[in-house]
Symmetry: D2
Subunit: 342 residues, 4 copies
Amino acid sequence: MYSFKNDYSEGAHPRILDKLIETNLIQQPGYGEDEYAKEAKAIIKRKIANELASVYFLSGGTQTNLLVLSFLLRVHEAVISAKTGHIYANETGAIEATGHKVISIDTINGKLTPDDIIKTLNEHALAPHVVKPRIVYISNSTEIGTIYTLLELQALYGCCQENHLLLYLDGARLGHALTAANNDLSLSDLGKYCDVFYIGGTKNGALLGEAVIFNKPELAMDFEYAVKQKGALLAKGRVLSVQFLELFKDNLYFQLAQKANSYAMQIAKAIKEKGYSFLTDSTTNQLFPILPKSLIQVLSQKYQFYIWKEIDHDYAAIRLITSWATEEEQVVNFIDDLKTFR
Amino acid sequence: MYSFKNDYSEGAHPRILDKLIETNLIQQPGYGEDEYAKEAKAIIKRKIANELASVYFLSGGTQTNLLVLSFLLRVHEAVISAKTGHIYANETGAIEATGHKVISIDTINGKLTPDDIIKTLNEHALAPHVVKPRIVYISNSTEIGTIYTLLELQALYGCCQENHLLLYLDGARLGHALTAANNDLSLSDLGKYCDVFYIGGTKNGALLGEAVIFNKPELAMDFEYAVKQKGALLAKGRVLSVQFLELFKDNLYFQLAQKANSYAMQIAKAIKEKGYSFLTDSTTNQLFPILPKSLIQVLSQKYQFYIWKEIDHDYAAIRLITSWATEEEQVVNFIDDLKTFR
Amino acid sequence: MYSFKNDYSEGAHPRILDKLIETNLIQQPGYGEDEYAKEAKAIIKRKIANELASVYFLSGGTQTNLLVLSFLLRVHEAVISAKTGHIYANETGAIEATGHKVISIDTINGKLTPDDIIKTLNEHALAPHVVKPRIVYISNSTEIGTIYTLLELQALYGCCQENHLLLYLDGARLGHALTAANNDLSLSDLGKYCDVFYIGGTKNGALLGEAVIFNKPELAMDFEYAVKQKGALLAKGRVLSVQFLELFKDNLYFQLAQKANSYAMQIAKAIKEKGYSFLTDSTTNQLFPILPKSLIQVLSQKYQFYIWKEIDHDYAAIRLITSWATEEEQVVNFIDDLKTFR
Amino acid sequence: MYSFKNDYSEGAHPRILDKLIETNLIQQPGYGEDEYAKEAKAIIKRKIANELASVYFLSGGTQTNLLVLSFLLRVHEAVISAKTGHIYANETGAIEATGHKVISIDTINGKLTPDDIIKTLNEHALAPHVVKPRIVYISNSTEIGTIYTLLELQALYGCCQENHLLLYLDGARLGHALTAANNDLSLSDLGKYCDVFYIGGTKNGALLGEAVIFNKPELAMDFEYAVKQKGALLAKGRVLSVQFLELFKDNLYFQLAQKANSYAMQIAKAIKEKGYSFLTDSTTNQLFPILPKSLIQVLSQKYQFYIWKEIDHDYAAIRLITSWATEEEQVVNFIDDLKTFR
């Protein structure tokens, strides 16, 4: 059995493990004060073209989301998210557990638009009987594989700024978004057109780790207290910083994402050629093909993946995910098995 | 400069890194469902002689404490801790942030007794105007290096059971406690004489990781939801389980702690021989010697450590910590520097 | 200007004020231990035919909802509500502020059905990545004036019991529900076919006050701690208990609700006769007629009410509410103004 | 039996009930928007000589404390209180339940000094491992009957301002403080030398109600959302505003407190003349005399009061409280019974 279930089935990229070994016995201050953190933060700030930014390394996506949102929201404030948004659908009420409502919005493609925001604000006008929207949460790539264009991001950020809202971008799969064929966003756009975002490591080559970036340092003031309070401050912060140092000291982070996308697009092409359609218009490493159940049955003999959604009596959508660690041979096999199905 | 500041200045024990490399590319289910987790949990349950226990791997001590306590406490319930307890003194209000008061108790040696508990219960009799004590939190070894004897633990647990209280033991440095010269507790006693405890990995050889054990599985029912909700469920749970597998598959965990203690005791012996006293009666890897400020000044030229407490005009207490990674040569140097001071 | 905006525009029914005066200087224990509380609780338990129930008096609906739900839910558990439910739509995230997600469900008439519940459970199967539904929240009458029948309530409660869910009924306007023409529920059914419910006083004659009833006393164990902790334990608890004593010592509570319904039905009849329709099929004291904007314009010269919803270019729905204190003369005037509109 | 147990054994001052009746059937907007609220707020702002202040009416002291503190504190911030402070000792962890640590300080007389504050700040220097003190909470009169002088309040406020701390004053018994014989503070000092304070109604003649005042309106921005969210926004806000209107439209509030103090001082004088001492140096309506247990035994045949503290084998301290409703005859009786004891 080979798994296309997710992009965290393996450990870390070998270069990361090598770097952990190389630095292993060098004494360092604890709690994120290590020299690797300083170095990695400097590199990231350079790459996003925002030297004033504040960067922190955290362990996972849910942890990052709940920390950022609970830190920035006051008691009566809420966050707006697509219904497919990770904070709404997949985090066991993590945001609500910090005391804040997640206002959910139906979308076609997992993306929010200025119109969605304006409509939501209008629906929350009856102060003080409703929560006060304060943050807009988006993911790029989204949880269903789609990506934001530069124009879309700029429009959304503009809308946020006009309405006293903060824009927070969940970049659990930011590498995959920025290396998609149809992408026109760069890291430096992220440093400009949102208030806070994070660069996901866990799903793109790291053992664990996300780098959260506050583009406006005043928003980050005292954030380290919150990190400690929520149990997210690692004694050996080096575990995270060394990995980001290795991923960003050259282009490794994007190479890995590019590879994952490439495998996904090969599979997508084969699926299309076979005449099947997709639930979502993904251009990244998550695919949601709608396949005959008989084919799904055949594939599930050799491959692991999620059955995503019942479509009708004969068809269902599945989720296929590739990663930096996906084996080319398995991609070829999968495509072959697809082609030979009749 | 050599650091005796803490026991997390280095990375992981080399055997752990080797194991991470060895298992790195083997596909595994995410979120703690990997085969290494199953194996490591089985070993731990065997070693604590409690096959019914529920074991979870988490990333750090504060995370573990806040997860266990917030999961077990109802809204109006509180936890009792020594004033020196990590949850009271060093976790940025992590427990209060989950909604619960930490009732603090002055102690001489960082340890709680049945008398402390009874007194606290009496002081919280005026229901419903006061919180209801429900959990007793202790650390072994304590934050000031002392340890509990079997009799002390049994007495405390008996008191808890008689008073409808749960006993939770923070084992961030449990290895050091169980390998202290004056220790008479075993892992299997821990599996018996408390309700929940954790075995600390971060401060004893792991990159990161704590193994929390619910001795009564009914207390752990649904705990995985809480782990996810608080951002503590690693996508690549293997990062934690592989380390515990390596630490516990033989006696590595205790060998490492034993080594740290041994270095500390060598230093302690030299300090005593020099005629200095200690703030606390530590038999583990944390020492709190009271030294002339002139000596502290000399030592701080070559070694890093915390100035713990001003004693008087001429003396201060410092904190020295050794670990599995402490270099023998540096211990020898330190003792030499101590001896030659006049 | 006369207000049909809500059912809390006036103070208390005169009999309640008289009773407050009569008992005013009699010394009583504080914090809900007064003799009036004992007496009022006994009467209520008799009327709901559940002598084992636990009764508490609280100040308002949002306070009651957040107290009951946060007390009964564990950290990872959630409550299911109609989208029109007060806890979802009108309480400024009060439930989320206590750490719990409100799972919202689209409904036609503001009521939940067993099918809704089963569907929601199925959508929350991916443990531990989603919250765990634990309580079903319903209102009777609903926020849009509709009511539950006995069969509907029994079916819902049966479904809850089969699925390890608690059923909680918000009775802010329970009096109006139980005195509606099409009602077949009695107070004693409430004492049987849900786990917790409350009888609303504020919207039916009291100055303030809601009586929350735990049908199963074990659910209420320690509830008084939570009441105090959330700032809901009045030093002079008599303020609440005296009012409920007066409302329930005879049939006053239902007489007042009946009167409010009667006025509403008179208005509804006139609206129907005029040929207008309604947004919801209300049989209680809240009406949502869809009227020509020109008529709304005319009415708003003399009466206050909410413009509820834009329907189209020419029509909008308004909300009209009557109460025990509504003046008959104003009802007559309103109907006249309606009839003479052309 | 006559009760000296507290100052909330009776209902409201008759003038308040009269006013409730007088205004009872006049329609008013709900949720604190009634005209009585406007009027009462204007009067209060004039009396505290701060026209810019923001005033809100709430139901009780614990509710007020938790609302103000949770609204003003960010997640990692804490409040400093005397160990005798109501928020630390008597509110069932209400503040911690909103996520914030209450840092407690031992005091002799229930009052905090600039030295206490500076010491606490020094003890919380190890960021980010400790909470960040942000608010200083004091009570006037204190929970043990003592009061602050103008100089003390000014010194404390100065210290707060120098250290980026807010000063919040709990005035549950502010009337009693400001009418004490040794008082030199006025309402207008309160409007100047703290950031937020509240004027207690419940313990001084109101059925229920506290008026919270933000001296700096920017601190109160959006506070009404929090009031609603925590279940503290009464639909019939008039219940509170009418009472404060009556209490403050002339000098009634202070007359009532003055009367309570006067009774207490008569009793205190008799106790002193009898040769007994006091646990605290109260000049307000709470007395803590240390009496022979045999005398306590005698008194408890006719009067209710709290046994406050065991002193030794023969003596205990009791708490006696007088109020606006205390009957003069009972004070005379009590003094007689005291005098005739031998």
